[in-house]
């Protein structure tokens, strides 16, 4: 009856994605700040990310005063671990709307560069609105 669509997207695409979903009448969603890494293991190269100045050969995600490399040194790790900040958007939709929502998220978020993100679809068994106790389709 419902499916949960979990999209891990770029931070700067949250606004356009939400506006697109609003236009479809899906205003309800959950957003989480997450860090992620993909098949590249979190490495950001200039040829992957246009935002990175050309003089950098490769940059890593830098948390305020600590780089992954210095973290690795101070914690005697064999190599640094890289993470890229992302937003996770979770939205529960009726099964018939699934493809429509996935198409929208894909068209808004596609830049053609690595790091565009992933979409996962998983089943939801039950849904309940706490305020009124409504169940099923009335609750979303």
């Amino acid at each position: 009856m419902f499916v949960e669509i979990m999209a891990i997207i770029r931070r700067d695409k949250v606004g356009p994605t939400m506006r697109g979903l609003d236009a479809m009448g899906l205003g309800a969603m959950t957003l989480t700040t997450v860090n992620g890494r993909g098949l590249q293991g979190g490495n950001v190269m200039t040829d992957i990310d246009r935002e990175v100045p050309a003089e950098y050969e490769s940059v890593s995600k830098i948390t305020k005063h600590l780089t992954p490399a210095s973290f690795a040194l101070s914690h005697s790790l064999t190599r640094p671990v890289f993470w890229i900040p992302k937003r996770m958007l979770q939205i529960i939709v009726p099964t018939p709307m699934k493809t429509e929502v996935i198409d929208l998220i894909m068209s808004v978020n596609r830049t053609g560069w690595m790091g565009d993100g992933k979409i996962f679809v998983s089943p939801v068994e039950e849904s309940l609105r706490i305020r009124t106790g409504e169940r099923g389709i009335a609750s979303i």
Binding site: A7, I9, R37, L77, M106, K118, F120, S122, P123
Partner: protein, 105 residues
């Protein structure tokens, strides 16, 4: 496909990530979460801590590699004391790569 969610000690996060990477699972998502377990948190004298910081790692993979992932996480996150964390496995019916529009089931 399955999603493996592991809630581990923050200090063990790097060990788990490096161990998974060594086995060929570099892709994952992490969130910092707060939680408590069966022991209802920690009690140190009169002070009760019931929101303990943990790291949640989410890995989506083929069903066949779930046992390997679970095993690797369990071995690398193990300390032997309460608070080591939990691993949950849940179903994922489809997954898409936004860049290419590729679909996997």
């Amino acid at each position: 496909m399955k999603m493996v969610r592991a809630i581990v000690r923050p200090e063990k996060e790097n060990d788990v990530v490096l161990a998974l990477e060594a086995k060929g699972f570099p892709a994952m998502t992490k969130t910092h979460v707060f939680g408590r377990g069966k022991q209802k948190g920690l009690k140190v004298g009169p002070i009760h801590y019931d929101e303990l910081p943990k790291v949640m790692l989410m890995i989506v993979s083929e069903e066949s590699s779930v046992p390997v992932i679970v095993d690797v996480i369990q071995k690398s996150a193990f300390v032997g004391y309460e608070g080591d964390g939990k691993i949950f496995v849940s179903p994922v019916t489809e997954s898409y790569t936004i860049r290419t529009g590729e679909k996997a089931e």
